[in-house]
């Protein structure tokens, strides 16, 4: 500990602290621009100059290490003179166009200029003008306003992992720019808007939409991935205008992924369903809630009575709230059915028979910093979990070693020290090889049920992964979305569990959606032999209730899911959006609130239950889904639908104060495993692209224009392409048992040989169905 005196206040700070750290500790504000607690120290803005005893010159607080007995004055005449001197320099070339600048009112330069700037400038020459750069559809630029603090440069390099911005040229001609006309394509790019202390980088979708002081700031939770990022949703006249991160060091720190930040555009899209609608023949009639609900209840009751409860089921979105999922399953069970599921992209449900709780990450997200070994199995990690990957990236800088077992070798922008790249059908064999390697190395026996899977000999890559895990002090093994959607997901889980147990690793499932954990806790899965999602979608039931589900895009079955639902006699659709597909398959559409217009709860991958309230009034006649389900329960004369608020519903599911929540377990003891099924032909590796995960994101135009929003193509390694006689750029017809899609073949050596990567969750590929299937490719 070091003694320091700041502005007359004595305090002790940890060794290695800077004057800025010490000042923060006593609450002495030192003006600054380039300093940011999450970024490296640049010391280039010089705004934080302070007076230090015995120092001949003012020193930058951000970069000056505290020495024992140091005396610092942050507001002395000398300090303020230096700060005002710097402010004058910052302002001479700054346009001072605050009235037309989007940053006005939330601009650090504007704020500090009030305290440190003069009322008129001594600089009377022409000001510098800098041409704007096109950074893509998300970040708008006004580079003339840039003060060269390089926060954005350091962010792309240090946090996002790729130096997409740099400072080119020298001196007064310096410009922040992307590398030769490129755009900034990071999935975390929006954070540079928050970081920019002036109006040089602003939000393109939000441009000129509102002034900061017109906006109400309300807390919420992101519905797009399993991390549960905390949001500040900014609302004007009940319209969501912008989303910013709510700092939570345990979850999203001070960052947001672009998906969390810009998805709000989907909430305000033209295809929002705002009135209840009933189908009459082939046409749709708007109606009132009373009529729609009575129609839905009456018809549902009649169809269930006629066809039997087992011919009725519910398909629920995995980003529905705990309250919605709980009431939906209660309604299904009240009507005598057990056909309910929210895991629409899952294909192997054999784990359900031996599951002891909801699969979860197995550790708090904040403890990723302490890991020194991590094996990620079956995951498009960076695009599936942008901020989780960011945490792993930071940990990797401090010595965390990461391994991957996955058919593609996408660049996670962090060092991957060991890798296996099996075809989808070889995933089980790959994992079994790693299991054998760790068991051999530790001389431990493998559970008898798994020995059948162990290979006779194992590849060097498996040994490398095993060695990496075993050399660790604190290790973790995670299953990604691809593994959980795999046709042998349960076996993969069981094998990973065994590897974790032998290596002493923490073991977890990352989860693909906001309520991947909460859905289990709410009981939105079959419990007494009912049909799971795959069963409900492979053959038509007589009636369905859908909650925010677009079957062809949100399920593993693709087009076949749409056909299955379309084959029902009666479909009640609770949905926030209207679309041709939904109109074609539904009989009544009830407009329900997206997350911004309802109260609810998500349980994140680390088992953290986070409740939120509505941040805006429901659009049109939209109603929160939990209220709609409650009234439907009443109309169907079911017991236990007398809730007055969503908290009461939640109380029936979980204890909000517990962390982690109860009933979490990844253990699959007693599972009957299945061996690898050898496959002939090219196997499809299907990702769910980052901007196709759910119905809101798919309707956010700016995200769709981003590089990651590009239409699917057929990505093949050069070797695979040669073996098929294809060339990059060829138009190809991809065919599966289910259907076909026309795509462009593109070379991508990150895809395992013998595989083709074709994205799902997109209308052009929905006809292909199954996420992992044998595909034939023909040139057309």
């Amino acid at each position: 500990m070091l003694e320091i005196e700041i502005d007359g206040k004595q305090l002790q700070v940890a060794d290695g602290s800077t004057v800025m750290d010490a000042a923060n500790q006593v609450g002495a504000y030192i003006p600054h621009f380039c300093y940011h607690k999450k970024l490296s120290i640049a010391a280039n803005c010089r705004m934080c100059l302070v007076q230090v005893e015995k120092a001949p010159k003012p020193l930058p607080a951000c970069a000056t290490p505290v020495t024992n007995g140091m005396k610092v004055w942050t507001k002395s005449e000398a300090a303020v003179k230096a700060q005002k001197g710097v402010m004058e320099f910052l302002l001479i070339n700054h346009p001072l166009d605050c009235p037309i600048c989007d940053q006005g009112g939330e601009c650090q330069l504007q704020d500090l200029a009030v305290g440190y700037g003069e009322s008129k400038s001594r600089y009377q020459e022409e000001k510098r003008v800098v041409f704007n750069k096109n950074l893509g559809p998300l970040v708008a630029t006004d580079m003339t306003r840039c003060i060269h603090c390089t926060r954005c440069v350091r962010f792309t390099q240090e946090i996002a992992g790729l130096m997409e911005l740099g400072q080119a040229f020298r001196g007064e001609h310096s410009e922040i720019m992307p590398f030769v006309e490129k755009t900034v394509d990071s999935e975390l790019s929006g954070n540079i808007i928050d970081l920019c202390p002036v109006g040089a980088l602003t939000s393109k979708p939000f441009r000129f939409a509102a002034r900061t002081w017109e906006l109400a700031r309300r807390k919420s939770v992101s519905p797009h991935d399993s991390l549960g990022s905390n949001l500040i949703v900014q609302v004007k006249h009940d319209v969501v205008k912008r989303v910013l991160p709510l700092e939570n060091e345990a979850i999203n720190e001070c960052w947001l992924s672009d998906r969390d930040r810009f998805s709000y555009e989907g909430l305000n899209c033209a295809s929002r369903l705002t009135k209840p609608m009933i189908r009459q023949g082939d046409s749709w009639q708007e109606t009132d809630w009373q009529t729609a609900l009575e129609f839905a209840a009456t018809r549902l009751k009649a169809v269930v009575a006629a066809a039997g409860a087992e011919e009725f089921g519910a398909l629920l979105a995995s980003n529905a709230t705990v309250e919605e999922l709980y009431l939906a399953q209660k309604l299904v069970r009240g009507l005598g059915s057990d056909n309910v599921d929210f895991r629409l992209r899952q294909t192997d449900f054999s784990a359900d028979a031996v599951s002891q709780g909801a699969p979860w990450l197995g550790m708090p997200v904040a403890e990723i910093a302490d890991l020194n070994r991590l094996l990620v199995i079956g995951s498009f990690f960076r695009k599936d979990h942008p901020l989780l990957a960011q945490r792993v990236r930071q940990a990797a800088k401090r010595g965390l070693k990461v391994a991957s077992i996955h058919p593609t070798a996408d660049d996670w922008l962090l060092p991957v020290s060991a890798r296996m790249q099996p075809k989808p059908s070889e995933m089980v064999a790959a994992l079994a090889a790693v299991l054998k390697a760790v068991a051999d190395a530790e001389s431990k026996s493998v559970d008898a049920a798994l020995t059948v899977l162990l290979p006779a000999d194992m590849p060097a890559e498996a040994k490398a992964i095993a060695d990496m895990l075993l050399s660790g002090r604190q290790s973790a093994i995670w299953l990604g979305n691809f593994a959980m959607q795999h046709a042998q997901a349960a076996t993969l889980r069981r094998l990973a569990q065994e590897i974790a147990s032998i290596t002493g690793s923490s073991f977890g499932v990352i989860g693909d959606a906001a309520n991947s954990v909460g859905g289990y806790l709410a009981g939105a899965v079959p419990a007494t032999g009912g049909k799971n999602a795959a069963a409900m979608l492979s053959e038509s039931l007589k009636s369905y209730v859908l909650l925010n589900v677009e079957p062809s895009l949100d399920s593993a079955a693709g087009e076949r899911a749409r056909a299955a639902v379309a084959g029902a006699d009666f479909v009640v659709n609770l949905t926030a959006f209207n679309s041709p597909e939904l109109r074609a398959i539904s009989h009544v559409m009830l407009p329900v609130s997206p997350f911004t217009e309802t109260s609810g709860t998500f349980v994140s991958c680390e088992g953290r239950a986070q409740s939120f309230v509505a941040v805006a009034k429901p659009q049109g006649d939209t109603r929160p889904a939990w209220k709609v389900l409650r009234v439907m329960g009443n109309l169907l004369s079911l017991d236990g639908f007398d809730y007055n608020d969503s908290e009461a519903v939640r109380a029936d599911v979980l204890d909000i104060t517990a962390f982690p929540v109860a009933n979490l377990s990844n253990t699959l003891d007693g599972l009957t495993v299945s061996g690898s099924a050898a496959s002939a032909g090219i196997e499809r590796v299907a990702d769910v692209p980052i901007y196709a995960t759910d119905s809101i994101v798919r309707r956010a135009p700016a995200l769709q224009r981003a590089r990651d929003g590009a239409a699917p193509a057929a990505y093949l390694s050069a070797a695979t392409m040669t073996s098929l006689g294809l060339n990059a750029g060829d138009a190809v017809e991809a065919k599966t048992e289910q259907g076909s899609a026309r795509l462009v073949a593109k070379a991508d050596d990150t895809v395992a040989d013998g595989c083709v990567r074709i994205a799902s969750a997109h209308e052009t590929t929905a006809a292909l169905g199954g996420l992992s299937a044998v595909v034939t490719l023909e040139r057309v």
Partner: protein
């Protein structure tokens, strides 16, 4: 006190840069002696300390002391860098050392590496003297072939390899940490210090950076003794130094003299003032050092302490001599433009301030000056000085402050009369080059 050649000794042949020639001049004797006797590194550093050799790049920091900062027992890589990024207007001594006596630098670096336990060295050569880079590469090849450089030097256990690296002409890369960034392949921008290079230098490893001339002085010190070197100069200002004399003298060029030699002697060596005209002012240590008026300069001796007492700096030893035909406003305008163009743009005061200074001086020179411009120049320079990461901010400010201080009447005349105090035709006659109308 007079001319004495240690670094430039016996450079009379046509191929003085060849190894053979250098060996004939007694080159590599110091290194051979060290290797043969396995001289303890501490003794070498003590010898350099005894010589009171001060850094020849401009700052004048005692070299022996700098070397002693290197954590010799630090495990892992340590680096040595030679700063030949001679970009300051008026300075051209390192170019001639590398051109005519490159092996003195190589030998100096090998000895330094031996003393500090460095295994790799880089000589960062200014981008605008490419033929010197080529010649240095040739010299390196000769040294390697002779077993003087590389693995197991002269059959000992000591290995050291040295590489030439050429910059692209940015003045800022002469700042030692910007130079390291540039070697690392990054944009040449100074680093904030601390940490200093001795603890966190090239690739994050302990690194020592010295000027070309500093290294070139080392072989002599080790061969003939630090005491001998010191005695050529005066106390606290050991040895000889090269001065690059330019401007209004009859024989501009590099002159190696003992430190402490009177300026008047140096001026005489350079052939005296051109056309017998009167001396007006001298920039004694490269363009960033404050200008010294003639009468003060004529009383100075050429060493760190004397020039410092005169309110300037010995700097790199680039002596810019200006006679009575010089318009001091025009001279300052040129210097300010240089610093405006060469600021790296990292810190606010220098990025914004150097342009501002240039524009104000420019408008004074061009008849658009305002009565309060001199106060403005003083105020802006005060706001730049001492508030930036590196010394470029100071380097840009010192000429402005000193020109305004010593030649304020010329500036005032410009502002009032919108023309030079020194008539254009006199300027033209003095410099023998075309001088456009100033106003």
């Amino acid at each position: 006190m007079s001319a004495r050649n240690l670094i430039l000794a016996d450079l009379d042949g046509d191929r003085t840069w060849r190894l053979q020639d250098y060996l004939a001049r007694g080159g590599y004797a110091a290194l051979k002696k060290i290797i043969a006797e396995s001289t303890p590194p501490a003794d070498i550093i003590a010898e350099v300390k005894a010589s009171v050799l001060r850094g020849r790049g401009g700052a004048g920091f005692p070299t022996g002391l700098k070397w002693s900062f290197m954590p010799r027992s630090f495990p892992g890589a340590k680096y040595l860098a030679c700063n030949s990024d001679e970009g300051e207007p008026g300075t051209f001594k390192d170019r001639d050392i590398l051109r005519y006596n490159p092996h003195s630098v190589i030998e100096g670096m090998i000895i330094a590496a031996y003393a500090m336990g460095c295994e790799r060295g880089y000589n960062y050569i200014h981008g605008e003297i490419f033929e010197v880079y080529d010649r240095f590469e040739e010299a390196l090849a000769e040294a390697r072939a002779a077993g003087l450089l590389g693995d197991k030097i002269l059959g000992s256990d000591f290995s050291f390899d040295l590489f030439a690296h050429h910059g692209y002409g940015a003045y800022i890369c002469g700042e030692e940490t910007a130079l390291l960034e540039s070697i690392e392949g990054k944009k040449g921008q100074p680093r904030f210090k601390p940490p200093f290079p001795a603890s966190y230098g090239l690739y994050g490893k302990p690194t020592t950076i010295n000027n070309t001339e500093t290294f070139a002085s080392v072989p002599f010190i080790l061969r003939d003794g630090g005491e001998t070197f010191l005695n050529y100069g005066k106390p606290n200002n050991g040895g000889t130094k090269l001065f690059s004399i330019s401007g209004h003298v009859n024989r501009p060029g590099n002159y190696e003299i003992e430190l402490g030699t009177p300026f008047s002697e140096l001026l005489e060596m350079a052939g005296g003032m051109r056309g017998g005209r009167k001396l007006k002012g001298v920039i004694p240590g490269g363009s960033s050092s404050p200008v010294v008026p003639a009468d003060i300069m004529m009383d100075c001796t050429m060493d760190y302490d004397s020039i410092s007492k005169a309110g300037s700096m010995l700097g790199s030893g680039a002596v810019i001599v200006m006679d009575e035909t010089t318009c001091m406003v025009r001279a300052l305008e040129r210097l300010s433009y240089f610093y405006f163009e060469e600021s790296c743009g990292q810190c606010t005061p220098c990025r914004e301030g150097t342009g501002w200074l240039y524009r104000v001086v420019h408008r004074i020179e061009h008849g658009l000056g305002r009565p309060d411009d001199l106060d403005l120049l003083n105020s802006v320079t005060t706001n730049i000085m001492g508030r930036t990461i590196c010394a470029l901010g100071d380097a840009a400010s010192m000429p402005v402050q000193s020109f305004v201080k010593h030649f304020g009447d010329e500036f005032a005349y410009h502002i009032e009369h919108k023309t030079c105090l020194v008539p254009d035709d006199v300027q033209r006659e003095g410099s023998k080059i075309y001088v456009g109308p100033s106003c």
